[in-house]
C-alpha cells in the first residue's frame, strides 16, 4: 500500500510540467528515497527520467544521489570514456554533465583534471589523461585561456598574425589528441563579454578584445579539422545574457566559468554534443495540430475558421512555429502528426489553406484518430522503423503531455507555454536535435521515407516478393571508407541500433585510422533503384586475424531490409577474404536490447555456429570453392580501382 502511494507520487511528478514540478519536488525526493530502500534500480530509473534542464543546480545535484551513472554491464555497449579538461574548474560542470548523460541512459566514464592544466595533461605521456585513454576530449576552455591579446595599437595584420599563432597552439593540442588516442575533440568557442573599453567602436577596431575573440572563433570554425566538434560556448553567453552568465564572484572564489544556474545550461549543452556524437540525438518531431500548428479546433471552426497568420499577432505566432518546424524538416529532422481528430478533417487545412507553411509533403507519418497518444506515438515509431526514444512530441495540451510522459516515457515531451509566441524557444532550448555533422543525405531523409512508403505500396501489388524485387531495378555502389563518405559512415556507426551485429561505436578519428590500417578492409554500400536513391545504407569493417577474416562491424539501415543487400554484402566479404588468402570468415553477434532482429543473421546466410557465451555468439563460414555466391537482385557498380587508390591517398593526407 505504502509502496503504491510513493509510486504514484513519482509518476505525478514525472508527468507534470516544470511549473507544477517545482512544488512537487520535495515529495518526489522523499518518494525516491523510500523507493531506493526497496528497489534502488527503480529509484535510479525514476531519477533519470526527472533529469531536465528546467531544474536548478541544487535540485539536479539532489537527483544525482539516486542515479547510478555510467559503467557498462553485460549486453550493454562499451562505456564511452569522456575527459573534461578545463581552463576554469570543471568540478561542478562534470557533475552536471554526468547527470545529463545518465538522464539519457548513456554508458560512460568521466575524467577531469585540475583546472588550467589541460595543456600539460594532453602533452605529457603517462599523464592521468593518457592512462584514461579517452574517446572524447572536451576542452572546456574560454577567453581566459587565450594566451595573448593584441595591444590596442596593433594593426589589422598584426592582429591576424597573432590569431594564427594562437590557433596553431590549439591545433597542436587537437592533433596530439587524435594521434595519441584517436579521440574526438569537443572544443569550446571563446566566450565574449561585452564590457569592452572601446564600447560600440570596438566593432570597427581590429585590436579590440571583442573583435579579437570573434576573429578567433571564426578562424577556429574555418580551420578546425573534422575530428574537432565545436561547442559554441559564446552562443550560450548570448542566450543567457552576459549579465547573468558572467558571475566573477564564483570565478574569483572557486574558479567557476560562469554563474551556477548558467552552469546547468552549459552542462546540458555540452552533454547534448556527446549524445550527438553517440548518435543519441532525437530524429523525429511529432506535432499535435489544433492549437499547436494553428489556433482553434479545425473540427469546430473549419479549415477557413482556424487562426493562422491573418495579421493577428497570435496567428503569426503559429505561422512562425510552422516555419521553424519547416526548417527542421529541411535540415533532415522527420516531421510526423499525432492528433485527436477525424483524419479527413485533420488533413483539410493542409489541403485547403495556401497559407500553411507545412504541407502534407513535409509530414512523414500522419496519424489522426481518437486513440490515446502514447499508443499512437509508438505506432509512428514503428511505421518509421525508428526507436520510440528518437521521438519528440509537441502538444499544447498539458493533459496529453502527461499521458505521453506516463505511458511512453521514452518520448521527449517539452513543456509548451500557453502563448504560442513562446513555442519556438520552448522547443529549441532542449537541444533535442544536436548534430556534429551535416551531409546532403540528411536533407533527403524525409524523401527516402516517402519513397519507402511507395515501395511498400508497390510490394503489396506484386504477387510475390521476387518479382517485386526484380521490378525495382536496384543498383549498388560499393566503396571503401573514403573522405567523401566518412561523415555518413561515422553517423551510421554511432546511431544504428537494430540491424547492427556488434554495435561497436567509433569516433570519426578511429574509423579513419582503421580505414588506413592494412589489416582492415572497409566496405560501404549505397543503394539506388528506379524510385530513387537510398544513399549509403550499409557499413562493414573486416579485420584479418590469423587465417580468418573477421566481421568486426556489419550494420545496415532498416530502410532497405528484405532487398537482398545482405546477400550482396556477403559476396563482397567472401571476395575480400579470398583476395587476402583467408579460408574462413568469422561473424560475431553481440546481443543488445535493440538488435534482436539480427540474432540469426549469420545462420540465415549459411554460417555455422561456432560457440557462444553470455556476451556474444560466434559464427564461421568457409570460403573455399564450396561457397556459392548468394542470390541478389542488386546490380553492382564498383568504384574504379584507381579512384579508390586516389581516395585512399586523400585519406592518408589527413582529410
Amino acid at each position: 500500500m505504502a509502496n503504491e502511494i510513493h509510486l504514484d507520487t513519482l509518476e505525478r511528478y514525472l508527468e507534470s510540467d516544470a511549473r507544477q514540478r517545482t512544488g512537487l519536488f520535495k515529495s518526489f525526493l522523499a518518494a525516491l528515497k523510500q523507493l531506493r530502500s526497496q528497489d534502488p534500480k527503480a529509484a535510479a530509473a525514476a531519477a533519470r527520467r526527472a533529469v531536465s534542464p528546467d531544474l536548478d543546480y541544487t535540485s539536479l545535484l539532489a537527483l544525482k544521489r539516486f542515479i547510478h551513472a555510467g559503467k557498462a554491464g553485460p549486453g550493454q555497449e562499451e562505456a564511452l570514456r569522456i575527459a573534461v579538461l578545463g581552463g576554469p574548474t570543471t568540478l561542478q560542470l562534470v557533475e552536471l554533465i554526468r547527470i545529463f548523460l545518465a538522464g539519457r541512459d548513456l554508458t560512460f566514464e568521466l575524467y577531469e583534471c585540475e583546472y588550467g592544466l589541460f595543456r600539460q595533461e594532453i602533452l605529457t605521456p603517462g599523464s592521468g589523461l593518457d592512462c584514461f585513454r579517452p574517446n572524447i576530449v572536451f576542452l572546456a576552455t574560454g577567453a581566459r585561456d587565450v594566451g595573448v591579446f593584441p595591444p590596442v595599437a596593433a594593426g589589422r595584420e598584426e592582429v591576424e598574425r597573432m590569431a594564427e599563432e594562437e590557433l596553431s597552439g590549439w591545433a597542436g593540442l587537437w592533433q596530439v589528441v587524435r594521434e595519441r588516442w584517436g579521440a574526438t575533440v569537443i572544443q569550446n568557442s571563446f566566450d565574449i563579454d561585452p564590457w569592452g573599453v572601446l564600447g560600440h567602436y570596438s566593432l570597427r577596431h581590429p585590436a579590440s578584445r571583442e573583435n579579437y575573440l570573434a576573429l578567433l572563433n571564426r578562424r577556429m570554425a574555418e580551420q578546425a579539422p573534422a575530428h574537432v566538434v565545436l561547442h559554441d560556448l559564446n552562443s550560450l553567453v548570448v542566450a543567457a545574457g552576459a549579465r547573468d552568465w558572467f558571475d566573477p564572484r564564483f570565478y574569483l572564489e572557486a574558479k567557476m566559468p560562469c554563474g551556477p544556474e548558467c552552469l546547468v545550461a552549459y552542462a546540458h549543452s555540452a552533454a547534448g554534443l556527446v549524445l550527438a556524437i553517440r548518435g543519441k540525438s532525437r530524429k523525429v518531431l511529432v506535432l499535435d495540430l489544433d492549437n499547436t500548428l494553428w489556433g482553434g479546433v479545425v473540427g469546430d471552426d473549419g479549415a477557413e475558421g482556424i487562426q493562422l497568420g491573418q495579421g493577428s499577432g497570435q496567428g503569426e505566432a503559429f505561422l512562425a512555429f510552422q516555419a521553424y518546424c519547416r526548417q527542421l524538416h529541411d535540415r533532415g529532422i522527420l516531421l510526423a502528426v499525432c492528433s485527436k481528430n477525424d483524419e479527413e478533417i485533420a488533413r483539410r487545412p493542409f489541403r485547403l489553406r495556401d497559407d500553411m507553411i507545412l504541407t502534407l509533403d513535409h509530414i512523414s507519418c500522419f496519424i489522426a484518430n481518437w486513440n490515446n497518444k502514447a499508443d499512437n506515438l509508438r505506432e509512428i515509431a514503428r511505421r518509421l522503423e525508428l526507436g520510440v526514444d528518437s521521438l519528440v512530441f509537441v502538444d499544447d495540451n498539458p493533459a496529453e503531455r502527461a499521458v505521453v510522459r506516463r505511458f511512453a516515457p521514452e518520448v521527449a515531451v517539452p513543456d509548451m507555454p500557453e502563448d504560442p509566441a513562446g513555442y519556438v524557444a520552448a522547443l529549441a532550448r532542449h537541444r533535442y536535435f544536436e548534430t556534429v555533422s551535416w551531409t546532403r543525405e540528411d536533407a533527403s531523409r524525409a524523401q527516402y521515407y516517402a519513397q519507402n512508403a511507395e515501395r511498400a505500396r508497390m510490394a503489396s501489388a506484386f504477387a510475390d516478393l521476387d518479382s517485386f524485387l526484380g521490378s525495382l531495378e536496384m543498383r549498388a555502389r560499393i566503396e571503401p571508407v573514403n573522405p567523401l563518405n566518412i561523415e555518413r559512415v561515422t553517423q551510421l556507426v554511432n546511431k544504428s541500433n537494430q540491424f547492427n551485429l556488434t554495435t561497436r561505436r567509433r569516433t570519426r578519428a578511429e574509423i579513419e585510422a582503421l580505414s588506413r590500417d592494412p589489416d582492415w578492409h572497409t566496405l560501404t554500400i549505397s543503394l539506388a533503384d528506379r524510385l530513387g536513391d537510398n544513399g549509403l545504407i550499409s557499413v562493414i569493417f573486416l579485420v584479418q586475424s590469423h587465417g580468418s577474416l573477421e566481421i568486426d562491424t556489419w550494420l545496415m539501415s532498416c530502410r532497405v531490409l528484405q532487398r537482398t543487400v545482405e546477400q550482396l554484402a556477403l559476396n563482397e566479404i567472401v571476395a575480400a577474404a579470398r583476395a587476402r588468402g583467408c579460408h574462413t570468415v568469422t561473424g560475431l553477434y553481440i546481443p543488445t536490447e535493440r538488435n534482436g532482429m539480427v540474432r540469426d543473421h549469420y545462420g540465415r546466410l549459411g554460417f555455422q555456429a561456432s560457440g557462444a557465451d553470455d556476451s556474444a555468439a560466434r559464427w564461421v563460414l568457409r570460403v573455399d570453392e564450396s561457397y556459392q555466391p548468394r542470390h541478389t537482385y542488386i546490380r553492382t557498380e564498383k568504384t574504379h580501382e584507381r579512384d579508390s587508390r586516389t581516395i585512399a591517398a586523400g585519406l592518408s593526407a589527413g582529410l
Binding site: T58, Q92, E253, A254
Partner: protein, 90 residues
C-alpha cells in the same frame, strides 16, 4: 528556534543529504563531515537561491575562515535579508 537558522538548516540538510542534521551557532565547517570546498560552493549556491540573496565575494569564502561559524553566518543572512526588506520598504 531562530527562523532563519531553521530555513538554513533545511537547505543544509538537502545539500549535505543528511535529513537529521541540526545546526547550532557554534558549529563550523571543520565540524561537519564532507564540508569540503566543493560542498561549500554548493551550500552557497543553494543558500543564495533559497533566500534570494547575493553574497559578496569575500562573504562566499568567509564562512570557512577561522573564527566563523553557523552563528556568524545566520547573522550575515539576517543583515542581508534586513537590508533587502529596508530597500523594498524604501
Amino acid at each position: 528556534m531562530n527562523e532563519i537558522r531553521e530555513r538554513l538548516q533545511q537547505v543544509f540538510r538537502q545539500v549535505f543529504d543528511d535529513p537529521d542534521a541540526v545546526l547550532t551557532d557554534e558549529m563550523s565547517a571543520k565540524d561537519v563531515d564532507g564540508w569540503d570546498s566543493l560542498q561549500h560552493i554548493n551550500l552557497i549556491i543553494a543558500v543564495e537561491k533559497h533566500f534570494a540573496i547575493r553574497f559578496a565575494t569575500d562573504e562566499i569564502s568567509g564562512l570557512k575562515e577561522p573564527g566563523q561559524n553557523i552563528g556568524s553566518f545566520v547573522r550575515l543572512l539576517e543583515r542581508k535579508l534586513g537590508m533587502q526588506s529596508r530597500t523594498a520598504g524604501a
